[in-house]
């Protein structure tokens, strides 16, 4: 095998290692995850029940409830991705393993992409459970839903989310104490401008411009159309996601590299607690 082929193989094994480690940890923290799932369901119910109090009836009420449910599900899904990505650094620093990970011959792209890949898989499972649990509880009917298209668009959007997540994962490198929380600020801002529970056109015009570069805008719009109206994958949603995905990962990686270099210059990789 050529040296290049060996290196590629080693990087793939390393990527598998990241996913494998997250599987181990998810098994160990399963009951905590279950408790977190209950919280997420309760939180989503508080949003979806708004549809019941809106004074609507029949199909209109069902449509509003579905609209809110899709928003809350995407919020929860993004929350998992940003949580995992910011924990790439924060958790390892807390455990004290970060220096061992950063001195290993694993490319940073593979390292971060492995973390993102697990986050997407885990997030998709959680989002599916959340959606159907709340839909059953509230009694939402989606007879026309095209779940395949909704799922595919979410998966496509995930490539962009990973890229943005990589950018936020650098924050704990810059601020060991508060960096992880700032990742959630990014999540909140992204969803606020993307029409998480409302149409984008109700926002001020400057926010609508920002919405155009947010991948969540297209995922929310496309998934709502698929679930409420049974629409298939729309090119108008797919192409912006493809472009953002192609741009977000290299930009995220470049941002992370700057942060890593800063941390290595100032000794911030070291555990802080």
């Amino acid at each position: 095998m050529s040296e290049y082929a060996i290196e590629m193989r080693n990087q793939l094994v390393g990527l598998f290692g990241i996913v494998e480690r997250n599987v181990y940890l998810t098994k160990r923290y399963f009951l905590w995850d279950l408790a977190f799932m209950v919280w997420t369901i309760a939180n989503t119910l508080t949003i979806v029940f708004i549809a019941r109090s809106a004074g609507l009836h029949g199909a209109a009420e069902n449509t509003l409830a579905t609209r809110l449910l899709v928003g809350a599900t995407i919020w929860a899904f993004l929350g998992i991705i940003f949580e995992f990505m910011t924990e790439t650094v924060a958790w390892e620093r807390w455990e004290g393993t970060i220096e061992y990970t950063f001195m290993a011959p694993l490319s940073r792209l593979v390292h971060l992409f492995g973390q993102g890949a697990f986050a997407v898989l885990y997030g998709l499972i959680r989002a599916t459970i959340l959606f159907f649990a709340v839909a059953a509880f509230v009694g939402i009917h989606a007879p026309q839903a095209n779940y395949g298209a909704a799922f595919a668009l979410l998966a496509l959007g995930s490539l962009s989310f990973i890229g943005v997540g990589i950018m936020t994962s650098v924050l704990p490198l810059i601020s060991p104490e508060k960096g992880a929380q700032l990742g959630f600020v990014a999540q909140g801002v992204m969803l606020a401008v993307s029409g998480v529970y409302y149409r984008v056109n109700v926002m001020p015009e400057w926010m609508q411009w920002i919405a155009k570069i947010s991948p969540a805008t297209y995922v929310l719009r496309g998934d709502r159309n698929s679930i409420i109206h049974g629409a298939g994958l729309a090119w108008a949603d797919v192409w912006p996601l493809l472009i953002i995905a192609v741009l977000a990962t290299p930009i995220g990686l470049a941002v992370f590299r700057v942060g890593e270099r800063h941390a290595k210059k100032h000794g911030k990789l070291k555990r802080s607690g």
Binding site: E3, I6, E7, R9, N10, V13, G14, F16, G17, I18, E20, R21, Y24, L25, R28, Y29, E95, G96, T97, E99, Y100, T101, F102, M103, A104, P105, L106, S107, P176, R261, K264, K265, H266, G267, K268, L269, K270, R271, S272
Partner: protein, 291 residues
């Protein structure tokens, strides 16, 4: 001691056999530090953690660096591990430049630090497998290599699946040694590997270090507080004092240089301070720097 896992990458292609294992010239690392007494808003000032360090370690050699807490030992290990970026000078590992060829160096080097850092909820076997993946070891390889390496450090086989949080400090340090050796490094950086261990665990770890040297083609840089440990394990001993390497030579030469019978007395003669009269912990220095 049973054999350590075979490396998945041909390390020989990455080794310049004519080059020393470690070659450090005028290496400098400065941190910004706020004076404790100058108030919260005082400007941070440069604080030299390593001040123009120069030394060479030959292939297969074991070199010990002695120094008080805060003397710069851990900073040196972190620089050689590619975890810090220096402010000046240069360092080469088996001929590879530390700044420009960091990814190559990472395949050649591993490290054991004073803190046996692991995912506490994961078992010893899971932690080792995780670390091994980064070096290209597949599940099939670790299935045999992990039990072998754990057995070689005297880790009880029945506790392989137990969470790290349930293991004693000594046990955790053995797993840390196993983690470093699992990837067959040609340069092993040991940063106070026996600090905090009970006497028996300390002896076991020291015995293992001797065995690694005897059976593997490993070069060892040992940073320690323990004079006896340095004397018995190392070919040459150096003293790092406030970021400056005072000398690096065989123990007998050190004693002869200062005309004293013990290494401890040599330390006193070289630095003007008792070894026990240690300064601030190096980790505390870091926290101050990053506060």
């Amino acid at each position: 001691m049973s054999s350590v896992a075979t490396p998945t990458t041909d390390l020989t292609t990455r080794l310049d056999r004519s080059a020393p294992a470690v070659e450090v010239r005028d290496l400098r690392k400065t941190f910004l530090r706020r004076d404790r007494n100058a108030g919260r808003f005082a400007r941070k000032r440069p604080w030299p953690a390593l001040d123009d360090i120069t030394f060479t370690i030959d292939r297969g050699e074991c070199v010990a660096i002695l120094g008080q807490n805060g003397s710069g030992k851990s900073t040196l290990v972190r620089l050689l591990s590619t975890l810090l970026i220096g402010n000046g000078g240069e360092a080469r590992i088996f001929g590879h430049d530390l700044d420009r060829e960091a990814s190559t160096i990472r395949r050649l080097v591993n490290r054991v630090s004073v803190e046996a850092s692991f995912f506490k909820k994961m078992s010893a076997a899971e932690n080792l497998s995780y670390a091994a993946r980064f070096y290209g070891m597949t599940p099939r390889q670790t299935r045999t290599a992990v039990p072998e390496i754990l057995a070689s450090v005297g880790f009880p086989p029945e506790r392989r699946g137990e969470s790290m949080e349930h293991l004693s400090r000594g046990m955790q340090q053995k797993v840390a040694l196993a983690r470093a050796l699992l990837t067959s490094p040609v340069l092993l950086l040991l940063d106070e590997p026996t600090t905090g261990l009970d006497p028996r665990s300390k002896l076991e770890v020291q015995e293992f270090i001797r065995a690694v040297r005897a059976e593997h083609d490993a070069t060892i840089l040992l940073c320690t507080h323990d004079m006896a440990e340095a004397e018995t394990l190392a070919d040459r001993v150096g003293i790092l004092d406030r970021g400056r390497l005072l000398f690096l030579e065989p123990v007998e030469d050190v004693k002869r240089r200062f005309g004293v019978p013990t290494l401890e007395q040599a330390f006193f003669a070289a630095t003007g301070r008792e070894f026990e009269n240690e300064g601030q912990d190096e980790d505390d220095e870091y926290r101050e720097v990053f506060a």
